[in-house]
């Protein structure tokens, strides 16, 4: 038969349990705005019963642990979408920087092509005019300069991206080490029967940050979480983090390596992946298109120019500095002629003939070896860059939307609701008050019992 003291003990456990409930509620409310925080609930359990004769009676409540409410599948999806989103974001930022170069402003390559051919056309009305001849040279150099400006801006953007690669790799290593450290902590907590929710929250948040940098996959093992890149390069195994490092590659840019293996090409999402795509694929592709245009145009123009005769009747020389290879042609393109009278305007060798200018003007509408006229080639580059930027933007918008939906879903499971916590607070408060009342009552009963003894036992 349990005595008053047993009841007192039961009430005390109840007080402690409700107190724990209030603690966890308070902690939830405090972390309502903490990124990555997972709400916790107290797990109550009936205390083991006692048996006395035929009577089984309860021993109140036990607060077993605080349980974090999480859906690991959602966490995983959030990670993946985070990688997609920040990859698209990195591409969007970079392509937005590229676009102004190729916007029709008057100084862009397309406008300079028009201006160059315009001054040749004007010269055809007065071929012996030295100031018009000088304009052709000036506009030729302006055209070359517009190529240089585009190339140097692209290379500047590429170098900036190269810097980001090194920074991103540094951040990845830092995060991997923190995640590995938390693995150790988590295992010792879980060995002690604890949920380790807070540590798990920290780790999940760190993995999410890692996913912003590169795509990761995670596997839960008995040694904690194993984190690898999307293609399986280990970043964290148990309590060990595997550093990535960078080293200048044959293209002069930093390559990402893991244990001696170059994994640069396999990194496709996250801000690192997005940055690498722009640095190693998009920008080189645009540069290559500009090089091809500069190379083909230089050759075509020089070939036609050489067929004409200059103001003194001499065979035309190279108008542009001759190019021997496509690679770097847009950087090297430059006007070779300095003497305006050396422009080979005529075919008959007379000072005022414009026969060859007509041939040069025809280049404006003749296909280069690429199959397109100079202006068509340039407008194709504009369309390509516009499409890249528009696609990156669209992917960024789309992944932002699904990331928000996933975050909403995750928040629906794990997010702290102030309203819910307020209700819980009232619930625990009431239970606490009731348990306190039980203690008061038992105390009064004890007083009665004690007084019974003091009055000398008159029964």
């Amino acid at each position: 038969m349990p005595g008053l003291n047993t009841s007192l003990l039961t009430a005390m456990h109840a007080l402690m349990a409700q107190q724990g409930g209030m603690d966890v509620t308070s902690n939830n409310i405090a972390n309502a705005n903490t990124s990555g925080y997972t709400r916790q609930v107290p797990v109550f359990q009936e205390a083991p019963t006692s048996q006395e004769g035929s009577l089984t009676y309860g021993n109140g409540v036990q607060l077993v642990r605080f349980q974090s409410v999480r859906d690991e599948l959602l966490d995983l999806q959030v990670q993946q979408e985070t990688s997609q989103n920040s990859g698209a974001g990195a591409q969007t930022n970079a392509t937005q920087q590229i676009q102004p170069l190729l916007t029709t402003t008057g100084n862009d390559i397309g406008s300079q092509f028009s201006a160059f051919f315009g001054s040749i056309s004007q010269l055809s009305t007065d071929p012996a005019n030295l100031s018009l001849r000088t304009s052709v040279i000036t506009d030729g150099q302006n055209l070359a300069n517009s190529f240089h400006a585009a190339v140097s801006r692209l290379i500047q953007i590429q170098s900036g991206l190269n810097g980001s690669v090194v920074q991103d790799v540094g951040k990845i290593n830092q995060l991997a080490q923190q995640i590995a450290g938390l693995n150790t902590e988590l295992i010792s907590l879980q060995a002690g029967g604890q949920d380790g929710g807070t540590v798990k929250d920290q780790q999940t948040e760190l993995i999410r940050q890692l996913a912003e940098l590169t795509d990761v996959s995670t596997i839960q093992t008995e040694r904690g979480i194993t984190v690898t890149t999307g293609n399986g390069t280990a970043l964290v195994v148990g309590n060990q983090a595997f550093d990535l490092y960078t080293s200048a590659g044959s293209n002069g840019y930093q390559q990402v390596l893991s244990q001696g293996q170059d994994i640069t090409a396999s990194l496709s999402s996250g801000s690192l992946g997005g940055t690498l795509i722009v640095r190693d694929q998009m920008v080189p592709d645009i540069l290559n298109q500009l090089d091809t245009l500069a190379y083909d145009f230089t050759n075509a123009f020089n070939a036609t120019h050489a067929q004409g005769r200059d103001i003194a009747g001499n065979q035309g020389g190279d108008f542009f500095v001759p190019q021997s290879s496509t690679s770097g042609a847009a950087t090297r393109i430059s006007v070779m002629l300095t003497d305006p009278s050396a422009i080979a305007a005529s075919t008959d060798g007379s000072a005022g003939g414009n026969g060859n200018l007509t041939q040069l003007l025809a280049l404006q509408s003749s296909p280069l070896p690429s199959g397109q006229t100079p202006t068509d080639s340039y407008s194709t580059i504009v369309a390509n860059v516009g499409t890249l930027a528009a696609n990156a933007q669209a992917e960024s918008d789309a992944s932002a939307l699904s990331l928000r939906q996933l975050t909403d879903q995750r928040s629906a499971v794990s997010g702290v609701s102030i309203n819910e916590e307020s209700v819980n607070l009232i619930r625990f408060q009431q239970a606490f008050e009731a348990a306190a009342r039980v203690i008061t009552t038992i105390d009064q009963l004890n007083q009665v019992a004690l007084n019974m003894g003091a009055s000398g036992g008159g029964f």
């Binding site: 190729l102 029709t104 028009s114 005019n129 026969g355 407008s379 528009a390 609701s417 102030i418």
Partner: protein
């Protein structure tokens, strides 16, 4: 199912979205353009490159037409004055062929015709903005200079063509020898002969020279029509080029310009959406059970 308790990210995203829509509408209205960067419409941005290029070419054709028109007018005016002077020389020749004229009178006439010859040569050497109009493509040199055997042509037989439209080029000169020293219609030669015949008082030779001069004048008059034709072709083409220029502007506008009515509607829609979102956000974020618990 538990509802997402944290509406803040969604509210922020919604606010950002309506602000973006407002900013886009405002930018379109203020710039008058729908396409400000290639990514706004890659195909339109590429077409704009072509449009600008063709518009620039068109402007250059217009400029060429104006320059050539000036040359044509200069050449035509030279030829007008040549024609009128040579017509007078023919009258002088007719007068000089009259047998009753004294030698002194003929000498005076010879001087007059000689003056005409000098004037014709000087006119044939006219330079328009430094371009000798009748030197072929050797336009930097003086085409006709006096020599022991009359007037020597220093130019060449080259003809320049200038483009004033796509695939539309006009020859803009007639070489001086073809104009003034055409065999059979040799204007300068005939004038020279007339001077000689007048000086010699040979009425038969005066008559022959005068007849040659007539046919040379007919020829030059015919050739003069060339310049008039070019000038009128250019006039027609200038009108066409002006229309084209307007077309290119309107094409540019339809490629990248914004329809103001649509843009204004978009802006007011975006403003309405913004107000609605703000109002909704204010409501959603205020609601809390704590407001009711005392």
């Amino acid at each position: 199912m538990r509802v997402n308790p944290n509406a803040v990210p969604d509210v922020l995203a919604a606010i950002q979205q309506v602000q973006q829509a407002q900013a886009t509408a405002l930018q379109q209205i203020s710039t008058g353009r729908r396409v400000n960067l290639p990514s706004d419409d890659p195909a339109a941005a590429a077409a704009l490159v072509q449009n600008h290029n063709r518009a620039a070419i068109n402007d250059q054709y217009t400029q060429n037409a104006t320059t050539v028109q000036g040359m044509m007018q200069a050449a035509e005016s030279v030829l007008n004055s040549v024609v009128s002077e040579v017509s007078q020389a023919i009258s002088i020749g007719v007068e000089g062929a009259n047998g009753t004229l004294s030698a002194a009178n003929r000498a005076t006439l010879a001087e007059q015709v000689s003056g005409t010859l000098d004037s014709v040569v000087s006119q044939a050497n006219t330079a328009y903005r430094g371009i000798h109009l009748f030197a072929g493509t050797d336009s930097t040199i003086v085409p006709f200079t006096a020599s022991s055997s009359g007037y020597q042509y220093n130019g060449n037989s080259g003809v320049n063509s200038v483009a004033i439209g796509d695939g539309y080029s006009l020859a803009i000169n007639i070489p001086g020898d073809e104009m003034f020293q055409q065999p059979g219609s040799d204007l300068m030669g005939s004038l020279q002969q007339l001077v000689g015949a007048l000086q010699n008082g040979d009425t038969t030779a005066i008559g022959t020279a005068t007849n040659q001069l007539r046919s040379a004048l007919d020829y030059v008059t015919q050739q003069r029509a060339f310049y008039g034709n070019v000038a009128s072709q250019i006039n027609t083409q200038e009108t066409f080029l002006q229309n084209e220029s307007v077309n290119f502007k309107s094409e540019e506008n339809s490629l990248v310009g914004v329809d103001l009515a649509t843009a204004a509607t978009n802006l007011s829609q975006a403003q309405a959406a913004s107000q609605a979102t703000m109002a909704a956000a204010a409501r959603v974020l205020q609601q809390s059970l704590l407001d009711y618990l005392k």
